[in-house]
């Protein structure tokens, strides 16, 4: 361009710009140093990967703290909100110790609201890579396999630059989110200028505070009548009827389940499947009703058998206490306690009958 008469640089330019960039880089380096000081970490409790799903981030950073405190994690409970508020690790441990006579396991609840088997299959890989648990217990139910259920949440989660970076697709944002503590703080405050920022940020802090140290999200509410049949006139129920009309098991979702089960052979960890208990009336949303449930049990147990993974069907409804439910599909804290007991006893049986190793390497009793 310099040879053209309409563009003539008569003196060098760009020194100021270079200097400004240098100042900025120095400021960023200082911010990175600050972000790694423990005092700052205590003052700024929330950091972020920039993921759309803030509850996932709460759980991830909570698990990091758990691992820092306990030196690792043996068992990760994964699944949707049904797992999040439906399994109490402490209660699982109590039942496990009582039934097996073994010392406590380090169990963490990584159930995340709205995540079906599709994002969970990817998340499981990330968790195994980062935290090396001995066992993943995936809590599943029939909605995981409806092609039109939870798709938007899944896409938002999976299209996140950090998730993609962790899966091998390089991006500057993903790299920074993985490696820079200052950037993760920046991401936590990235929406500082939104009208709803204070509200959202406070909610994140509150929800983090509500979790037990092992990731359990206590559900105090108890549903008045969780066993009432669905009503097509009720707007919420009508939506569910629409989602599950013509329900079929989506091949892609079953492939996601298989990919999660394959972690057993690929990463040397144990993958166990459990059915999360929903009310019998929930299957009224499906045309085939209870037959759909039976088909679900058959398909999932076949997949588990093929992969050599144990599968635990849901606790029978009559073994749950009367105040066990917070709605048709979620358990209250009372239901969670009963289901956790049921799960802990099953783990003990597996250990005693098959010698299944539930402990992370280096955490032998």
């Amino acid at each position: 361009m310099t040879g053209d008469p309409s563009f003539k640089l008569d003196r060098p330019i760009g020194r100021t710009l270079l200097l400004a960039i240098l100042i900025l880089l120095l400021a960023m380096a200082a911010a990175e140093g600050l972000a790694r000081i423990s005092l700052v970490r205590q003052r700024l409790p929330v950091s972020s990967f920039g993921n759309y799903h803030y509850q996932f981030e709460i759980k991830w950073f909570h698990l990091q703290r758990y691992v820092d405190q306990h030196g690792g994690v043996d068992v990760l409970l994964m699944g949707s909100s049904l797992v999040n508020s439906g399994i109490e690790p402490e209660q699982v441990n109590q039942a496990w110790m009582q039934a097996s006579g073994q010392p406590a396991l380090r169990i963490f609840n990584f159930g995340v609201e709205g995540l079906t088997v599709e994002p969970n299959s990817v998340l499981a890989e990330l968790l195994v890579e980062s935290f090396h648990p001995a066992v993943i217990i995936f809590g599943t139910e029939i909605r995981d396999y409806a092609a039109n259920n939870g798709t938007e949440t899944a896409q938002n989660f999976l299209n996140d630059p950090w998730v993609q970076y962790r899966q091998g697709q390089f991006s500057l944002q993903g790299w920074l989110a993985e490696h820079s503590a200052a950037y993760r703080y920046f991401l936590a405050y990235r929406n500082w200028m939104r009208a709803d920022f204070a509200e959202n940020h406070t909610q994140i802090i509150r929800r983090t505070g509500n979790l037990t140290s092992d990731g359990y999200d206590i559900e105090n509410r108890v549903a008045e009548d969780p066993y009432r049949p669905p009503d097509p006139q009720d707007p919420e129920d009508a939506k569910a009827f629409e989602v599950f009309a013509g329900f079929e098991f989506a091949d892609s979702r079953l492939a996601d389940l298989e990919s999660m089960l394959a972690l057993e052979s690929e990463s040397g960890i144990e993958v166990l499947l459990i059915e999360m208990p929903v009310t019998p009336q929930f299957f009224d949303f499906f045309e085939a009703r209870e037959a759909a449930h039976q088909e679900f049990l058959q398909i999932v147990s076949d997949r588990a058998d093929a992969a050599g993974s144990p599968f635990l069907p849901a606790i029978p409804e009559d073994e749950l206490p009367p105040d066990a439910r917070s709605d048709r599909v979620h358990l209250s804290k009372y239901g969670a306690a009963a289901f956790s007991q049921y799960l802990g006893e099953w783990l003990a049986r597996l250990f005693l009958e098959t010698g299944l190793d539930l402990r992370q390497e280096g955490n032998a009793p």
Binding site: M1, I13, T16, L17, A27, R190, W192, A195
Partner: protein, 479 residues
């Protein structure tokens, strides 16, 4: 392709690389090609409509210049007005962003009107070169939202661009950076700080919040448009083509005539030359006394009503224009008996009070600019009613803040959002320095270290807003 995007930066850079390798007419051919591609990226179908209209306007302009009757002039004005109303106010509203997006149509319209009238008045010869005529209307840095340029001064600048030397590159870069900070850091942040429902159901909120959000909106609107103009002037400067200034610290205006000399200058000058002066001349022909009530009242009222209609054929825009007309009428009547003194003879406190009054009345008028009349009225009443103001717990808020707690708890204390005032600060500082130095690029006179520090700060501010989940389109892009 938003002009604050990296895609636009790449597009401009590619256009510049080729442009500066070309000579003579090839430069204009290239610029037109680039401009048409830029327009097509927004909406190629509307681009075709506007291109066809430009062909017709070109033919009409040659007829207007050669005919003795006014028939073609009226035909041209009527045709362009019909296209404006049809595409901007009828089709666009019907289709709700569906059918065609009338990008830049209001700006296109006033430029064509000025051109036709100037031809008719013999102020200029018609542009016989179709390439120059089309490029004048489609030149990509100004096609979206101006500045509104007059053909008689712009076409020569475009045909014979100035040499882009180091000084011009630096000035252009300075304009672009200032524009980006105004748009992305100040305007977008302020817009995002206003809850969606504030302008829909204002009676749901306390008066102090409504007042703070109106302040936020006033500064957001100004910085949005001033930021846009600054960016496109910087971009155009890199092609050696100067674009007119549009803003000159409008919120430092001491009266409303002063305000309109500082706010959207290219439109104000257009309104002055093509509405205000002709109306005044016409009235003076009938009522020779300058102080006749019609001579005092009608020119500003009619001019500002036209301004309102230019922004949109709606009652609330008409009221917005009418309010500004009314402000000017009151000002004219008041100054009849007491002529205005030169600013340096007015005490500082009175100058400050005048600035505050003009700003407050301007901000109130923005209500009807932003929302329909009924909502604007509810907003005004809710904001000004004593009963609508909630108690503000200032002491507990300050105590919590000093203890390092509760920095995010201002809604609980009934306090207006403090971020609004923090975001306004950089824009206010920029305006104050420009006003003090009388130079919009005053910082280019600084030595290298403070300038580099300022540039680093500007980049930091842009980084701070880069991760947010929302980006707001330019407000004036809708006109």
């Amino acid at each position: 392709m938003p002009i604050t995007s990296f895609a636009f930066a790449g597009f401009t850079l590619a256009a510049l690389l080729v442009y500066h390798r070309l000579t003579g007419r090839a430069k204009q051919v290239w610029l037109l090609l680039v401009s048409l591609v830029f327009f097509a990226l927004w909406d190629w179908r509307f681009g075709l409509v506007l291109l066809a209209l430009t062909l017709v306007n070109y033919w009409l302009s040659l007829r207007i210049a050669s005919e003795s009757s006014r028939g073609t002039l009226w035909l041209g004005l009527g045709l362009n007005l019909a296209v404006l109303i049809l595409f901007r106010d009828v089709f666009f509203s019907w289709s709700a962003y569906g059918l065609l997006v009338p990008i830049g149509l209001s700006f296109y319209f006033v430029q064509v009107v000025a051109y036709f009238v100037d031809l008719r008045m013999g102020r200029m010869q018609p542009e016989r070169d179709w390439l120059h005529f089309t490029l004048y209307l489609f030149y990509f840095p100004k096609v979206l939202s101006g500045p509104i340029e007059r053909a008689r001064s712009f076409i020569p600048r475009m045909v014979q661009p100035q040499t882009v030397d180091a000084g011009r590159v630096i000035r252009s870069f300075g304009l672009v950076m200032a524009g980006l900070v105004r748009k992305l850091f100040v305007a977008d942040a302020l817009m995002a700080l206003i809850p969606d429902r504030a302008f829909v159901a204002p009676d749901e909120f306390a008066g102090q919040h409504l007042a703070a959000w109106l302040l936020a909106y006033a500064f957001a609107l100004y910085n949005d448009f001033a930021g846009y103009t600054s960016i496109v002037r910087g971009v155009s400067g890199l092609f050696g083509i100067e674009l007119s200034r549009n803003f000159s610290r409008p919120y430092f205006a001491r009266d409303f005539t002063d305000f309109w000399r500082r706010w959207h200058i290219s439109l104000s000058e257009w309104l002055r030359d093509y509405i205000f002066f002709p109306v005044t001349r016409w009235l003076m022909g009938r009522f020779r006394n300058r102080q006749h009530i019609f001579n005092l009242v009608l020119p500003p009222i009619i001019t500002m009503l036209v301004s309102g209609l230019w922004h949109g054929f709606s009652w609330h825009m008409l009221v917005w224009g009418g309010l500004h007309g009314l402000y000017q009428v009151v000002e004219r009547v008041v100054t009849l008996g007491r002529p205005a003194r030169p600013p340096d003879q007015v005490p500082v406190w009175r100058r400050a009070a005048a600035i505050l009054v003009v700003f407050s009345l301007t901000a109130l008028a923005w209500l009807s600019f932003r929302m329909d009349l009924q909502t604007a009225w509810v907003y005004l009443v809710s904001m000004l009613s004593r009963g609508q103001w909630e108690a503000m717990a200032l002491r507990p808020a300050a105590a919590d803040l000093l203890r390092g707690r509760g920095i995010l708890s201002w809604p609980g204390y009934g306090l207006p959002d403090p971020r609004i005032f923090l975001v306004i600060l950089p824009a206010l500082w920029l305006d104050m320095q420009q006003e003090k130095n009388g130079d919009e690029l005053f910082y280019l006179q600084w030595s290298i270290w403070p300038l580099a520090g300022l540039l680093a700060l500007a980049m930091l501010l842009l980084l701070l807003v880069s991760g947010a989940d929302t980006q707001v389109p330019f407000v004036y892009q809708g006109f």
